[in-house]
């Protein structure tokens, strides 16, 4: 399954929304390379619990991150219905394991609400904003904050 | 029939410039990278004129010219020396070795062709 990126009109952008447990999240469609089904990953030694391992993506070695675990929720127990959202984070490509893709949204910038003060540190760190769509609450994720670039950290 | 020019120069830049200039002027061009290769190629390539550099590895221009002049078949072939040398002694040596004439680098395509026309029938 793959999506063609459409050029969004001025001031608006397209997002891919997906589900983890009872919650919905979204990321900018521009950072999504493709969406593919779950395949078993090769575990990496000494990796943080949210790094499930690596898979072969047409010859490239792609790390798979259990987004639920990364966001501090219960670790996923992946099955065939899970999907991997292949995203570009700066110069790297990272696969995000989520339960299902729920929607493709076109939003305007002014429909993004700030993250409420009640949020925990973890959420404040990774959430860029909150969307209210059809009574659903969708949290917009900041991929760069989720996966800081190590090289720029080091330099 | 196209006139054939044998060029001997270790610089890839100059070899390419010679090739382009000579081909554009309608000459057939055969190239060697130093004196040794020049003498090897000479056999059987039967050039109408030879253009050679002086400073080259393995066998320099003087040695090459002497080699050509020692060769019964090619001792009368006109040889033009490509030179940036300002040293009179070097130039005299080239002449004594048997050079027909010379072209001062950086060469101008028109000058090169004129010089060649000049020493060939």
């Amino acid at each position: 399954m793959s999506y063609t990126v459409k050029t969004a009109s001025q001031g608006s952008r397209e997002l891919i929304a997906f589900r983890i447990g009872e919650q919905e999240f979204c990321v900018n469609i521009m950072s999504v390379r493709e969406i593919r089904g779950w395949t078993a990953a090769t575990p990496l030694p000494h990796a943080p619990p949210y790094v499930m391992g690596v898979i072969n993506l047409r010859g490239a070695v792609l790390p798979i991150v259990d987004l639920a675990a990364r966001l501090g929720m219960d670790e996923a127990e992946p099955n065939a219905r899970h999907v991997i959202i292949v995203t570009q984070v700066k110069s790297r490509i990272v696969g995000l394991l989520v339960e299902a893709v729920s929607d493709i949204l076109t939003i305007t910038d002014d429909s993004v609400q700030p993250v409420p003060e009640v949020s925990s540190d973890l959420e404040k760190q990774y959430a860029r904003g909150i969307l209210a769509i059809d009574k659903r609450m969708i949290c917009m994720l900041d991929l760069n904050a989720l996966f800081p670039d190590q090289e720029s950290e080091a330099a | 029939m196209k006139k054939k020019v044998l060029t001997v120069d270790d610089s890839r830049t100059i070899r390419n410039m010679l090739l382009v200039t000579l081909n554009n002027a309608g000459f057939e061009t055969v190239q060697a990278e130093d004196g040794i290769e020049g003498l090897e190629i000479l056999e059987g390539c039967n050039p109408d004129v030879i253009v050679t550099d002086i400073n080259m590895p393995r066998l320099d221009g003087f040695g090459f010219i002497e080699g050509v002049r020692r060769n019964e078949k090619y001792r009368a072939v006109p040889i033009l020396v490509l030179t940036t040398e300002s040293d009179a002694e070097k130039k005299n040596r080239a002449r004594q070795a048997g050079a027909t004439g010379w072209i001062v680098k950086p060469f101008d395509p028109a000058k090169l062709i004129d010089a060649i026309e000049r020493v060939t029938a």
Partner: protein
């Protein structure tokens, strides 16, 4: 090909010449006095100057010219290449490199520096040239017109468009020209006929040929010159223009040019005016027939300027010319073959290929290897019995794939020389900046390694060299006080060792100040104040993230980058780095890098249900441990006895945290490995699946360095398998550097 492409070639060539120049100068610096070394150095600068002139790169030409002049003094033994002289020359080589770079990429050079060096070079050239030969360096002309030369071997204005400057030349001035070639003229490939032809282009002309010295035919030496000519030329050109026609020949003839009264035909000599037939100059066998009557009958004739030519002139050169024609026909049959041969050798021994094309090929071959492995696997899975034809075909395919891969990889192998050469410049510059005197010695520069490794090696190596100059080597005063040579030495060596390239950087400086490093590590909370570390462990703390021993960040070692970044760059290349240091005597940095980043021969093993690849180069032997050979040692260490010696057992599954408790060695297989440190370890794995060449895939590209893992690969089933970093695993088994690696990984 257009001029831009040739210019591109020129800059490529410049890079090669600059490398040649620097390595030659360094050889001279080491006392090499081989004339060919001096020649090669001279040629390098000469070539750059020649090419630069063709593209009108004035600054480059001007500097190269001065440099070349001084080098020529060395070449002709007028200047002794002492260390001081070579120091100037090495700096000049650096400036030449800068000028080349600016010519290519734009930007600015340090004018003061290059001007200063020009002065130094000129001083060297002048100060050492004997008075007789001494002259100021010739002014450099970079214009299309070549410089006029005062010593005779001067360029010829070949073009005939020089009329413009000749307005003041007398219109219709007639010149009397007397031209008597000597035999040498013909011996050098000049021909009187051609000179006369060129002369006709200057104006109206009449020619009288003096055949007075011509002997009878049977006494004639075909190579002697018997004729001379009296020419009357009416032209608007100057006397110099006329002389310039004879430029190539003036040494080999008697030439007289003087202005004459228009009506004064030379009649007092036994001359034979000759009719010239231009057609005799055309191609075609030389025909002596039209010439002979001319000699016999002495026909006088006025000749049209346009059709002056000479069969007779040819006669003098007859022997050579006839021989040439004969040679031409004799060689005719061989010509085609010879042309082919010439074409082949013109192409030379090398071709230049765009790196992208090579990389594309390498990637494709990499995919081919994976596909071949997958095919083999599925054939085996689907047809366990297997027909021998299919198996043989698969084996051949595997063999071929392997050979293709090896050949393709060889394309990328390059000597480390260019990187090493860059380092010598850095040593010079940094040493100058900090007022130290340092010699860089390189060894094994021709050791070949994959181009990517070379490219990526430059940066960490530069950093290390700067560190060594800035922090490693002491000031001359301190060195003298310590009883050392005031000049420090940094030695950079490369060699192949067990399928890897080993690069060592040795300095004879002060060594690591362990007390200071330890204190710094405590201050930075890298280690606990009461921790008990070995000397080796303290030395290796300099690689810890964020560690920097310099109290203030210096400009030189710069930008706040520490040795941790160096270590990370080396690790990203699948390499390792370690340091050993002896206080007062210096430090040794050892880097071990893979020869290629693309493939590896590996043993595929199973560990705790995972498939791992162990580089074959690390494995000494494999053994099946017996219960009797296993001995417990200390709290949880186990040793295996192999031929009466004891070797520590390392459970790979435990080290990589794939299982919580150590496996039973008797149920697995031991791989006896030799690590970089030299010690042997028996690595326990659960089972061996087989041996295979695997395509190396970077983990760092999308993830980060994983301790104990060198890289990843894709196996026949399409799944990713990890490649074990044997040395890191062995290191971890010693309890050393594991924590640093772990903390590094935790940031990922």
């Amino acid at each position: 090909m257009d001029m831009n492409e040739i210019k591109e070639i020129f800059f490529q060539e410049c890079e090669e010449q600059l490398a040649e120049l620097e390595s030659g100068l360094l050889k001279l610096n080491d006392g090499d006095r081989d004339p060919e070394t001096v020649n090669a150095v001279f040629r390098a600068v000469h070539s750059i100057k020649g090419g630069a002139g063709a593209f009108g790169l004035d600054d480059l030409v001007a500097f190269a010219h001065v440099f070349e002049t001084t080098l020529d003094c060395v070449r002709s033994n007028r200047l002794e290449p002492t260390q001081d002289v070579l120091k100037v020359m090495l700096k000049s080589a650096d400036v030449l490199a800068d000028l080349t770079k600016v010519a290519r990429d734009g930007g600015y050079v340090d004018d003061a520096r290059s001007r200063g060096l020009v002065k130094e070079l000129e001083a060297l050239a002048n100060g050492n040239v004997p008075a007789a030969a001494s002259k100021a360096p010739e002014p450099v002309s970079v214009a299309a017109t070549a410089p006029a030369d005062d010593d005779g071997f001067q360029p010829i204005p070949f073009s005939f468009d020089a009329f413009d400057d000749e307005d003041d030349a007398a219109k219709g001035q007639t010149y009397e020209i007397s031209f008597r070639p000597r035999r040498e003229l013909y011996g050098k490939g000049n021909e009187a006929a051609l000179l006369l032809r060129d002369l006709t282009r200057l104006g109206e002309m009449s020619i009288i040929c003096d055949t007075g010295t011509l002997p009878v035919l049977d006494q004639m030496d075909p190579e002697q010159s018997y004729f001379s000519w009296k020419i009357s030329l009416t032209t608007e050109k100057t006397q110099d223009d006329i002389r310039s026609v004879f430029e190539f020949a003036e040494w080999d003839c008697d030439l007289e040019v003087k202005a004459a009264e228009p009506a004064s035909p030379p009649e007092d000599l036994p001359m034979v005016p000759v009719a010239f037939d231009l057609s005799a100059l055309d191609d075609g066998p030389f025909n002596i027939e039209p010439v002979q009557p001319a000699v016999d009958e002495a026909v006088a004739a006025d000749v049209e300027a346009t059709d002056v030519a000479t069969g007779i002139a040819n006669m003098a050169a007859a022997a050579a010319r006839v021989e040439k024609k004969e040679a031409a026909s004799a060689a005719a049959t061989a010509t085609v073959a010879a042309q082919n041969a010439a074409a082949t050798s013109t192409a030379g021994q090398t071709i230049r290929v765009d790196l992208d094309r090579v990389d594309r090929l390498i990637n494709l071959v990499g995919e081919l290897v994976i596909n071949q492995a997958m095919l083999s696997q599925s054939v085996i899975e689907n047809d366990a019995s297997g027909t021998s034809a299919v198996n043989m075909g698969l084996e051949e395919l595997q063999q071929l794939t392997r050979e293709i891969q090896d050949s393709v990889m060889a394309i990328r192998a390059q000597p480390v020389k260019p990187v090493f050469q860059r380092m010598s410049r850095i040593v010079r510059e940094v040493a100058d900046m900090v007022g130290k005197s340092i010699r860089l010695v390189t060894e094994g520069e021709n050791t070949e390694v994959d181009k990517t490794v070379i490219d990526k090696l430059a940066e960490p190596l530069t950093h290390m060299i700067r560190n060594a100059v800035d922090h490693g080597i002491e000031t001359p005063e301190k060195r003298l006080a310590a009883g050392k040579d005031p000049e420090g030495t940094i030695k950079l060596t490369a060699k192949h060792r067990s399928g890897r390239i080993l690069i060592e950087l040795v300095d004879d400086g002060a060594g690591i100040n362990r007390e200071r490093v330890r204190q710094k590590a405590i201050d930075n909370e890298l280690i606990a104040p009461d921790s008990n570390l070995s000397d080796e462990e303290i030395d290796n703390l300099i690689f810890a993230p964020g560690f920097s021993t310099a109290d203030k960040i210096s400009d030189i070692s710069g930008r706040g980058v520490g040795m941790d970044v160096v270590k990370r760059s080396i690790q990203a290349l699948g390499g390792r780095i370690s340091i050993s240091s002896k206080p007062g005597h210096g430090s040794v940095f050892t880097m071990s890098l893979p020869l290629t980043l693309a493939v590896l021969d590996g043993m595929v093993v199973t560990v705790a249900g995972q498939t791992l690849v162990v580089p074959l180069t690390a494995i000494v032997e494999t053994l099946q441990p017996e219960a009797a050979a296993i001995h417990s040692f200390g709290s949880n260490q186990r040793l295996i006895s192999i031929r009466n010696s004891f070797c520590p057992l390392v459970d790979v599954g435990r080290i990589l945290n794939f299982r919580a408790t150590q496996a039973n060695p008797v149920e697995g297989v031991a791989l006896l490995v030799e690590s970089e440190g030299g010690g042997q370890r028996a690595l326990m794995v659960d089972a061996i699946q087989g041996q295979r060449q695997v395509v190396i895939k970077s983990l760092e590209a999308n993830y980060t360095h994983v301790p104990g893992i060198a890289a990843a690969t894709i196996l026949g089933d399409g799944r990713v398998a990890l490649i074990l970093d044997v040395d890191a695993v062995v290191g971890a088994s010693r309890g050393q550097s594991l924590k640093a690696e772990m903390s590094l990984a935790a940031t990922g």
